[in-house]
Symmetry: D2
Subunit: 362 residues, 4 copies
């Protein structure tokens, strides 16, 4: 399956960082859905590098070209393929990297898997650049979900150990829009300033930092999902771990729940004022037994620090099979977590739309 995910809504990503183009194919999109290309590009802009000192200066226009599946602004029901051409690819530095795998990168594992045949320039198919097509697909999914009153939002929950405040029990579409409109996607801007300082400090030290992203989906009806191996957590995790640099994932209280008592972690059911069943807490993150409760779906994603750093690092020479030192040249993001915020939203939206497309009317 490699670079695909989804059961009914199949999303397939292709391309290498320094190849001719990267892109995405979406199968089984519903027909007749209007796609607002400006809104789509706005989402792509949120992950775009080069906006400020916090990210690489590489210029990525990231304008998607839709090759199929769209007619007069509406989906046709047949596969939608969108590509982004690669332009600003300088591969001159790659010779050294081909011999000296960068610690923390996929250089060495790709070398083992494909016996040195992979196109690993700029990270190749493993590059964070492949998250741009994911945002195209996810942006389309978000537009379709919004018409069903389902909204997905995310923020940078932590960087280098500095935490943003958490989403409230019931995040709103307004809050999602507000965060999406910020240059630095946090709830509490003061903590956001501290995070940015930590990123810059790491950058000046030739180093990098990781981060945590919190994502929520509101409006998902209860009863969506499946038990055991095909629930919301299963499909979401399989897709979320496809985002480069993700090393951890938790739903609701997650790892914190492991230290709680049952009486504390269980979410009590109550009738709300409108006569609907709700819960007074949401430690389950909106999912019980793989199936949605009707409460917000909440997940937290841990991203490791960017492996490409300016500091000298210990590695080996594959050709000589001996220890070596490596200095990675070029400009690299000292942190990718803030740019990954719309990517986590995109993947979450795609998985939720996948489930909704399976709601049968039989």
């Amino acid at each position: 399956m490699s670079s695909e995910f989804g059961n009914t809504l199949r999303v397939s990503v292709f391309g290498e960082s320094h190849g001719r183009a990267i892109g995405v194919t979406m199968q089984n999109l519903p027909a007749g859905e209007e796609i607002d290309l400006n809104a789509l590009e706005a989402l792509l802009d949120r992950r775009k590098p080069g906006k400020n000192a916090l990210s690489t200066a590489r210029h990525e226009p990231d304008r998607p070209v839709i090759l199929s599946g769209l007619l007069e602004g509406k989906t046709t029901g047949s596969p939608l393929c969108a590509i982004i051409e690669n332009r600003d690819a300088r591969s001159r530095d790659y010779a050294e990297l081909a011999d000296k795998p960068r610690p923390g990168h996929a250089d060495y594992t790709a070398y083992l898997k494909w016996a040195g045949q992979a196109d690993m320039r700029g990270g190749g198919h493993f590059s964070g650049r492949l998250t741009a097509p994911l945002c195209i697909a996810g942006g389309i999914a978000k537009q379709i979900l919004a018409r069903k009153n389902i909204f997905v939002g995310a923020h940078l929950a932590a960087v280098a150990g500095i935490a943003d405040e958490a989403f409230p029990l019931h995040p709103t579409q307004t809050q999602f829009d507000e965060i999406a409109g910020k240059d630095f996607p946090v709830i509490d801007d003061a903590r956001g300033c501290d995070m940015q300082e930590a990123i810059l400090a790491a950058s000046h030290a030739g180093d990098s930092v990781g981060g945590v992203i919190e994502c929520a989906a509101i409006g998902v009806p209860g009863g969506i999902g499946n038990p055991m191996f095909d629930g919301i957590e299963n499909r979401l995790s399989a897709a979320i771990f496809g985002i480069p640099a993700v090393k951890g994932l938790e739903f609701g209280a997650g790892f914190a729940a492991a230290a709680m008592h049952g009486s504390e972690n269980n979410d009590p059911y109550r009738m709300d004022d409108a006569g609907n069943i709700t819960t007074t807490t949401n430690h389950a993150g909106g999912i019980l037994g793989g199936i949605s409760t009707g409460q917000p779906i909440v997940l937290r994603v841990a991203m490791k620090p960017t492996p490409s750093i300016a500091k000298p690092q210990q590695t080996v020479s594959l050709s000589r099979m001996e220890n070596a030192e490596l200095i990675v040249h070029g400009r690299h993001d000292p942190c990718v977590a803030h740019r990954a915020v719309p990517v986590v939203e995109a993947v979450t939206a795609l998985v939720l739309l996948d489930f909704l497309l399976e709601q049968t009317n039989l």
Copy 2:
């Protein structure tokens, strides 16, 4: 896909807690593999309840009956189906639960999904009892992997906030065997005693506790896996989140990596004494870009506290659509994390064998 996982090695679990039998089907097992049924039952015994005060007194003999796919002790290559008959199922208390969903359980979400048609007695298809067939399948996988010098082991890394020590950089088969032989599967028995006290204290208070399981696989060759959405993390996470009560998962340093600097988190490559490439740390948990590095694969699984507790809880009556109080009767495990240790091993072994079966000789 529901209750299935795996790409080549398809594992499909069926059954309800109080139905006639539960079981598992494995497709695409290699032929001619000898299966030691005694070793298989030993693994099942590790998850068996009723061993001591820490777990429910429900008597589950859990003797697997293999219906197909095995001839004279060897796999035949065609689907292997194994079942466990249900005997000790007392469903008398279910009428109240059918109306009053237990907080933290799948009662309410199953009700929404199947409009009240599910067999939810004893947790139905969502019951932790379904992990017994998983252990049968995983035990078979472990035996096949062991012949390839691949070993999977796990321990209870934390309960109620009390932490065991972590696996060393290079866990050994001996260490795995030693832990598997213990009544309470921890590395440091002193901390294990503290954990057991915390479990008993929760039990006496009519409450429950959660826990964390650390699992490692040694001997996995480098170069196994796939990029993006079909890597080791993707497939493992999709399967691990199928174990009831799992709410979080991390690989290697995981969430801790999100607070590290790149210079700290990156695992330096070094030549070892035997002339092989190794890393001096293993924050990647043996996986980079979805592909194995050749170092131990390490994951940590967060399990929430058992939702069934003796304390009165707030819920609603589905028939009357009004608030209600619930007292869950019967005996329930005050902690399931220690019993889930072999389950996490089983699922991990199944996913790794799935990948190994895809290593082509083309």
Copy 3:
């Protein structure tokens, strides 16, 4: 994938002819569907051997035991597993067959694939006996479809070159029931007598004959299916070729269409008296571009003659790698096509239900 088919409705068959049990698991059945076990056994009886001189005397009671997924006669929504225990298995003759592969059987290919480790007694996992669990699954699907006014019927269209008449343009449920009630499932009983004579003649000559089955589904709404590789023909063919002995499949006019002119083969659209769009012919077999037209779905399945025959045959000895002669002992069906009629119905019903479960209400 092996012994599974279906996308949403996953059907997985297990067991070997002389093993402990054979069975089937169905995933993603809708919940709350009442299953009439007597009707289910009536369908199984239609494929049962030993009814008359036309088929083997092997006694197969074929009483299904449902292990899971059914509560008080209704589906629960979780996987339904049903098994049939094997009783009348006499494996004494197998030693010779293990060395001398029977021409036309899977003995030799199974030997190549599994290096002699397969349980091939009685045909093993390749045995026609595995169609009994298929009939259990298909019988359940037929009951669910019938509630949607979709009916599937079949008849023996040809045996040994003797043809039954074809289904009319619009077959009816009454006609399906009538054929299903016959001992020998043809439309024209006179031709059925000729066919039975041909079968008996072959039997007396120590030989066997093949046949063709025509199957139709009525009431399938238009617009079901998908273009290209996931249409009705694609999924049906993938499943139908899983029935042992099937070597050909055509939809509508099929191979005859290849000799027609377009003006003859195209089905003209007309408004019917009720104001609905219909076609005046159905050469498309109810499928255009992989999607249903609303007309009856019609397919024809070619089954080769039973490979096990009493006549001496040329083969080789695998142990000595030299030419050998083989005489297959025991009783074998001189024709399996008439017993396969309900099997083709069963598989067709399963595939159609699979598609219907994917009709979304988004």
Copy 4:
């Protein structure tokens, strides 16, 4: 799943006839395989229209642009995406067709499925033009298979009831090359002349004809495939029925086997001069129990006559829900079967490579 097929080698086709581009993505290609682009275009040229009076004058340059997965002429192991831009698309005539579905086309079923939202200009995603990307993918597969001494060839076995001679028991690579080099892909050129006359006669009459394609694969080792639902016949049929206009498929003797006796249809095993096991006939088409025997794999594909014909036809007006007459304008192929010969080869090669990639070395 829609427009994808393959288990390990995933082939995904996208595009509409009159959209911006059509294309194909291949996942899990082995790395380091050299691709000869000239040979690839030679295969594409074999299906190209406009070569002579037998096919449409529409100009399709069909030059593939490879966007990813290829570096310096070799596959990289990551997804290979190739596109063909659409240029010669004149959609002026589509307004009438959108209201009056063409008999024998997918116009009406697409209308039902997507409520009139599909881009059906020129046949849209159902167009025979989508077989061009299939040929790109299949051409790549053929080159990889050839290095394993596996060759796939095909010829036009019949047109309008005029039959070519059949492949011999052991077709050769030389024969495949010879047929591929012909303008009209038959074994017996005299019969080919008759066929061409029949096509021209139909064309002059404003009509069209269908045809049968015979395809063979030589060099496939024995023991490839799986029992029941994932054998060679299952996967091949699911893919072959994805080629537009295919309505029938048979393996080996196929429908003819249904009229044979077992003693005639069974292929006797014999030792050949080189000491290998062979069969003296090949009625099984190289497949028993879904698994290859080592003999040539042989299949025959029935294609219906082109539904677009110049003669007036009866249809309905969807807007007015009343009977209507339709005259299809523009130039259309009076036969597509001869152009589909390389397409059948392409799909067969892709499915066989898919199986070979699953041969494990565990």
